[in-house]
């Protein structure tokens, strides 16, 4: 039903924006005082100075505030899965904080994520159908209990991997959230719109402090939490009484971080023989663009641009009849594949110059 509470979205978005604007400096102060900072010791780090973490905690507070506000003043839009999301989100943030300070291994992090998100399946995210981009859907039965955590964990890691440049993860999440908001708005999905309005406000406020040159990082606490909310929201809505993972649309929206994750996974597989599968490297998309001589701002803006185009394509994908979906997906795949080929070609040229 397409009657959207526009004022509620605006209130939630504005509330999250103000929460970020007000709380980020507080957490910056706290991070400096507690010495929870990022020291650029590893080669893969781009920044050259100490930058405080904990910039992502206001996302979590905005989220809790949104859930409370909706329940108290607009209970008609509250959903039973909101509270389980709060619990899972809290645990994700706790893990992120631990990782920011004590550096948790990727394997442990992934295992904890999967266990945690697997639990969500039993609290309302009972996804048994996967929507086909070509129309209709197919039932995956009990496999859903595996697919649900894998999907959310995949999005979480995609956001986390993209958190390598000032303003990159925050900006990409803002663009993804805006695209998902537009699609959910078109589909009359109020719950998703609320979550995305919250993310848009929170990330926009955060970008005020995180855009190059950043005075604070969101840290793993922020990146994992943003990825969690994005991933979980794509499973929030129900079609004909069953939750349907419409994989194609969010995958196109988040093509940039997801592509980076897939390429990173491929590189890790190649390194697996040396027992370095879970060791991070300096070959993410943004690293490679920087190596081509682009400035941080240029790389970030270029990736924003690509992401915004993908978001637009995802919106078109959600609007066109399913017979045309294949064409859109083909175009998206060609754009992504072409981008990778062009990047490798330019890298080859610059190596030749050297």
């Amino acid at each position: 039903m397409n009657d959207h509470p526009i004022w509620l979205y605006a209130t939630v978005g504005l509330g999250a924006l103000l929460t970020s604007l007000l709380l980020v400096p507080v957490f910056r102060w706290l991070a400096v005082r507690m010495d929870v900072v990022d020291r650029p010791r590893e080669a893969r780090k781009i920044h050259k100075r100490i930058v405080p973490y904990l910039g992502g905690l206001p996302f979590y507070f905005s989220f809790l505030g949104t859930i409370f506000y909706v329940e108290a003043f607009h209970p008609e839009y509250s959903q039973p899965v909101f509270f389980p999301m709060c619990v899972a989100g809290t645990l994700i943030v706790l893990m992120g904080v631990y990782d920011d300070i004590k550096d948790m291994s990727s394997l442990k992090k992934l295992l904890v994520e999967l266990v945690l998100l697997g639990g969500l399946y039993f609290y309302g995210f009972q996804t048994t159908e996967i929507a086909s981009p070509f129309g209709g859907s197919f039932n995956v039965g009990w496999v859903a209990v595996v697919i649900t955590p894998l999907w959310i964990a995949g999005v979480i890691n995609a956001v986390n991997f993209s958190d390598g440049l000032d303003g990159l993860a925050g900006g990409l999440v803002f663009i993804c959230a805006a695209s998902i908001f537009a699609i959910a708005f078109k589909n009359g999905q109020v719950g998703s719109c609320l979550m995305m309005a919250c993310l848009m406000g929170a990330t926009l406020g955060f970008l005020r402090y995180n855009f190059n040159p950043a005075s604070i990082f969101m840290g793993d606490a922020g990146a994992l939490f943003l990825g969690f909310v994005l991933g979980a929201t794509t499973l929030l809505e129900k079609q004909k009484g069953v939750t349907t993972i419409a994989l194609a649309v969010p995958m196109v929206v988040m093509a940039v971080p997801i592509l980076d994750t897939i390429l990173s996974f491929y590189r890790r597989l190649q390194r697996a023989r040396q027992g370095k599968f879970f060791t991070p490297d300096r070959n993410h998309l943004h690293h490679r663009l920087l190596d081509l001589g682009l400035t941080q701002r240029q790389v970030v803006l270029a990736l924003y641009f690509v992401s915004a185009w993908m978001g637009l394509m995802a919106f078109v994908l959600s609007v066109v009849p399913s017979t045309y979906s294949f064409l859109i997906l083909l175009l998206a795949a060609m754009a992504v594949g072409g981008g990778v080929v062009v990047l490798r070609f330019i890298e080859g040229l610059s190596q030749g110059d050297e």
Partner: protein, 352 residues
């Protein structure tokens, strides 16, 4: 400060915020849950426990009107309280409904017997006048669809026409047997019967005019616009409001273009709620229909996979026309097909 200590301090901060969130969130959540129209039974029982019997009965009546429960508990509760309040006549009118929804909770052959019992208790409340052969055939078709959906096919087949009509009436049906469309003041010189099922086992949408089915069996909101006097079909269509808001828009424009006094017959097949628009709802109101189903605390015409059948008149006051609906499920019990119809007694029909 050691790293472990930093982690513990920040964890304590986050958990303190989460604890604070819970302290303020849960009282609000419980308060809202208590006042959620979907939880009307709990609220009514609380009121009754506080000695407010009349208010409790009102809450149950409103709950039944807004949810059309497919479980017997709300009807039984209301019946008990009515009996205790000395309103035994009103309580007795609920007998067939209680028996019917109790029957749906039974298994297989027990259910068949129980449904027949419900029909017997409803015969006196829902008498069928003399009807034409076409209408009799239509009623049999509707009863058969209902029987298949409820898993009591054989039992329904063995019922007489009068019993089948009583069954359709007990199962949320809304029939007029004097030719008038509800309380609109418009009388039809022909029979018009509509049946719909949303998420029920047997998904159908039928609009029978003088025994001829005008529907096409496609998903969406089936509509037939008829001339009130001649019964001539002015517009006929099915709008897949499940798949697209454009369909809702197209239907709204079609309804808007119809002249006042036009008769509209509506039936949902599968679903027509996903892309329902305010505009289309306003146009349906313009046919004398009223959103009755309480969905997310607001009255709507129907929710996801609800059954919905209606007959209205363009320009009628909302609430005066005829409609019947059943939810996709109530408290775990599935909904069922519903029927709605205007029957002109054979003796009173021109040319009969």
């Amino acid at each position: 400060m050691s790293d472990t200590r930093k982690v513990l301090v920040l964890w304590a901060l986050i958990l303190a915020v989460f604890a604070l969130f819970n302290v303020v969130y849960w009282p609000v959540r419980l308060y809202q849950a208590e006042r959620d129209p979907a939880n009307f039974m709990k609220y009514a029982q609380k009121l009754h426990g506080q000695g407010q019997a009349a208010a409790a009965m009102d809450v149950v009546r409103q709950g039944i009107a807004g949810h059309h429960p497919t479980a017997s508990a709300p009807y039984e509760q209301l019946q008990d309280w009515l009996g205790a309040a000395g309103k035994s006549e009103e309580a007795a009118t609920l007998n067939p409904t209680v028996a019917f929804y109790r029957a749906l909770g039974e298994r297989d052959h027990v259910r068949e017997v129980a449904v027949c019992g419900a029909v017997e208790s409803g015969l006196a409340l829902h008498p069928l006048p003399s009807v034409s052969a076409e209408t009799a055939g239509t009623l049999r078709t509707f009863a058969a669809n209902l029987g298949i959906s409820l898993g009591v096919r054989e039992a329904v087949r063995g019922l007489s026409l009068e019993q089948q009509y009583a069954l359709l009436s007990i199962a949320g049906g809304n029939f007029s047997t004097n030719g008038e469309i509800g309380r609109t003041g418009v009388k039809l010189p022909y029979d018009l019967l509509v049946q719909s099922s949303g998420g029920a086992e047997r998904r159908v949408a039928h609009i029978f005019l003088r025994g001829r089915d005008l529907s096409t069996g496609e998903r969406g909101l089936h509509v037939a616009i008829l001339d009130p006097q001649s019964g001539q079909v002015v517009q006929l269509g099915v709008f897949d409001v499940w798949s697209s808001a454009k369909e809702a828009e197209r239907m709204a424009r079609m309804l808007e273009s119809m002249p006042p006094g036009s008769v509209g017959a509506f039936a949902v097949l599968d679903d027509a709620s996903a892309n329902m628009t305010d505009d289309l709802e306003a146009q349906l109101r313009g046919f004398g229909l009223l959103p009755e189903a309480m969905i997310q605390r607001r009255p709507r015409f129907f929710g996801m996979r609800y059954s919905f059948a209606a007959i209205g008149v363009k320009g009628a006051i909302p609430g005066k026309a005829m409609q019947a609906w059943s939810p996709d499920a109530y408290d775990g019990t599935p909904g069922h097909p519903v029927a709605c119809g205007v029957i002109t007694p054979v003796a009173g029909r021109a040319g009969a």
